[in-house]
């Protein structure tokens, strides 16, 4: 268990291009930190610097307050799950998991190794496969062996590099909850790299969003979602993504493609001097006016081009003409987000009761308080409320600590009971299984 601190970390590869640029990050003891960003943004590089496989060009890396920049990987006592698992093909599953224990010469007796490996295998449901070779396992099983190898020893922290990206969608969902449960149960500091915003939102206590090697925002998933600092974070977090609409500033009104929104208060101050802004509206904040009542809402009508019904929800697509003045900025954003350069259309996440059909002209409404306004030049979010953000951060931190406490208490309880009464402990373990699944 330990804290990890990154201070102004820079990584330049041979060609001088900074793959990671001036990243500072504090990871608390027991925290689940996610590094997220489009591919090529330097997530793996950052993780590999933490574990010691890549030299740090400049900056300091501290584990438990001790500078470890110059320590070899084996002296940092971190464990890592590689993107393609890197299992040892010549060893059985048992020996793969036991590998780190066997390397710590003299530290563990054979019996100890056996019991530790069996514990890890039980937790990951690998009991029946211990004598098999990795080549004969399925993708999900290999993934679990890789995790077993990481959790079997008492490492200071777990590092994961896109551990689920090679699994199919269903398995990915299962393993995601599995990882979350395991991290809570073990309470070990974890850094988890992913390019998938769903994993980032569901797993992390806090999420660090990277773009081209530069840290954009570090915050709880909820804060990222509700109070993004800039256009990039707003566009990256959320699925389907936030709609970005160009808007002309006319005194104290914003002229959007479909409607006009009056603005007042501090936002009007910030808009002074700007001709054009980008308005961000999450698809779920736009309602079908015929089934939902939006008090103080802005109403508009638009022609729906396409609808997708998914049972629990449905999406409507509404094309619009983008303003040339901001189109290049939106195109750039699209490229940054690994987009496909699709045409400009607004996505609306409708209630599944909504009866809007393709080709209909329909009435929509949204609450202007839920709208984000971005400076098109800098990408800065002009509607971000620092006070609210701080409140969310405090809440999430409290929740995290409570969850960790609970997990530790449960663990201690389980240990006590298993010492006294085996069958009771088994019962509680079964409880845990049932709750998680």
């Amino acid at each position: 268990m330990s804290s990890i601190e990154l201070k102004n970390i820079v990584k330049k590869y041979g060609d001088g291009f900074p793959a990671v640029n001036d990243v500072s990050l504090d990871i608390a003891d027991g925290e689940f930190m996610i590094l997220v960003g489009p591919s090529g943004c330097g997530k793996s590089t950052l993780l590999r610097m933490v574990v010691g496989l890549e030299d740090i060009t400049s900056g300091d890396l501290l584990i438990n307050g001790k500078r470890v920049n110059d320590l070899a990987p084996r002296d940092r006592n971190l464990s890592m799950v590689f993107q393609n698992y890197a299992l040892y093909p010549h060893l059985t599953v048992f020996e793969n998991i036991a590998f780190p224990l066997r390397l710590a010469k003299g530290k563990h007796s054979d019996d100890e190794i056996r019991s530790k490996v069996n514990d890890a295998a039980n937790m990951l449901e690998l009991k029946d496969h211990l004598e098999r070779k990795p080549a004969n396992l399925s993708g999900g099983q290999r993934q679990r062996v890789a995790m077993g190898r990481a959790i079997v020893r008492d490492a200071e922290a777990f590092l994961f590099d896109e551990p689920l990206s090679n699994l199919d969608a269903k398995l990915r969902g299962q393993m995601r909850t599995e990882i979350a449960r395991m991290q809570r149960r073990l309470g070990v500091t974890t850094i988890y790299v992913t390019h998938d915003q769903t994993e980032a939102m569901t797993l992390g206590d806090r999420v660090a969003v990277l773009k081209k090697g530069v840290l954009q925002q570090v915050a709880s998933p909820r804060e990222l979602y509700e109070q993004p600092v800039n256009l990039f974070v707003a566009g990256f977090i959320g699925s389907p993504p936030m709609n970005f609409l160009p808007a002309r500033v006319d005194g104290s009104t914003l002229k959007l493609p479909f409607c006009e929104v009056p603005v007042g208060g501090p936002l009007a101050e910030k808009l002074r001097g700007l001709d054009i802004v980008i308005v961000g509206l999450r698809p779920e904040y736009i309602k079908d006016a015929s089934v939902a009542d939006v008090p103080n809402g802005v109403h508009f009508s638009a022609v729906v081009d396409q609808t997708e019904w998914l049972g629990n929800e449905q999406y409507a697509y509404i094309p619009y003409e983008a303003d040339h003045a901001v189109q290049s900025k939106l195109d750039e954003l699209d490229r940054d987000l690994d987009g496909e350069g699709m045409r400009t259309q607004m996505i609306v996440n409708l209630d599944s009761r909504s009866r809007i059909l393709e080709g209909d002209e329909a009435q929509f409404a949204f609450d202007p308080a839920m709208m984000h306004v971005f400076n098109p030049e800098t990408g800065e979010n002009l509607t971000r409320d620092d006070e609210k953000a701080a409140q969310i951060a405090r809440d999430s931190e409290q929740q995290r600590k409570a969850a960790l406490e609970r997990a530790r208490a449960r663990e201690a309880q389980g240990a006590d009971r298993s010492a006294g009464d085996r069958s009771a402990a088994d019962g509680s373990a079964a409880d845990g299984e049932a709750r998680a699944s």
Binding site: S79, A86, R149
Partner: protein
């Protein structure tokens, strides 16, 4: 893999490989047949069948001659020399080449290309051009007609070859394997010994066999750098066989010796055939 090959391709491959197999196997069968012929049969086609190919009454006289008879003083020490010299040369070559190829495939250091191209250039160098200077040098420094005097030139043949084969093998092993070991707490040496070396084993066996054959089959060095049973190997010793009388050629005895020296080669290949099959690394990564 096999399942990807359609039936048509399979038959096509068979059609091509059968003539090649016949082409290579006939000379070997011929040597075997000749080694079983008596002196009389060698001179008289009527004692043979299939048009002078197979003796009507095969005899093991030739084998007796070289193993226990008149030629045994020449052949038995030569066989022992061959085995010792080739095994030592192979062992040293593979050991050196393993480290060298590992460094070449894993590390980025200046002069990497140079080492590889030099290795290639050395193996192109005609053997016959090296023999005369070596002969003079060895006589001066006392390596002439010693086992070491043969092992050293054999290394110059086998090391470059082994470096090339092995670096190809090492490059196939995912580097992450080694990094994973380091993160798990291994030193570089432990990572090499416990992870990389076992994974490279099929490559090392293949290389060892190739290196062994290269040394085993050499004639030029063996005949020129030796003068007695001290170090003379089988290919050289064959040249010194004499017939039963001044007027008979020792054809049968030479063929019998050739058959005997082919046996270890065949055994080696059969023994390590499975190890040579690559694909041990499958399952390391996502697959």
């Amino acid at each position: 893999m096999e399942s990807n090959i359609s039936d048509k391709t399979k038959w096509g491959l068979a059609a091509v490989s059968i003539p090649i197999m016949i082409w290579t196997i006939i000379p070997i069968l011929w040597i075997v047949a000749t080694s079983l012929k008596s002196d009389a049969a060698l001179a008289d086609p009527s004692k043979n069948m299939f048009g002078n190919f197979w003796p009507k009454s095969p005899s093991l006289d030739n084998y007796r001659l070289i193993l226990t008879g008149g030629a045994s003083e020449l052949f038995n020490p030569a066989l022992l020399n061959s085995i010792i010299i080739c095994l030592v040369a192979t062992f040293i070559a593979v050991l050196l080449a393993t480290f060298c190829a590992y460094a070449i495939s894993r590390l980025d250091f200046p002069g990497k290309r140079l080492i590889l191209t030099t290795a290639l250039a050395v193996s192109f160098f005609p053997v016959i051009a090296m023999v005369t200077p070596l002969f003079n040098l060895w006589r001066q420094i006392g390596l002439f007609d010693t086992k070491i005097g043969l092992i050293i030139p054999y290394l110059s043949l086998t090391v470059p070859l082994s470096i090339w084969t092995l670096s190809a093998f090492f490059q196939q092993i995912p580097w992450e394997m080694e990094q994973a070991a380091q993160v798990d707490g291994a030193t570089s040496w432990q990572a090499f010994r416990k992870v990389i070396a076992p994974l490279a084993a099929p490559g090392v066996f293949t290389t060892a066999i190739i290196a062994f054959f290269t040394a085993w089959n050499d004639f030029v060095f063996a005949v020129n750098l030796t003068s007695s049973n001290n170090a003379r190997t089988v290919p050289a010793a064959l040249a010194f066989f004499t017939g039963a009388s001044q007027f008979t050629q020792p054809t049968g005895a030479i063929c019998a010796a050739a058959v005997i020296v082919t046996i270890p080669v065949v055994i080696l290949v059969l023994l390590f055939q499975r190890r040579i099959v690559a694909g041990l690394t499958s399952g390391a990564v996502k697959g």
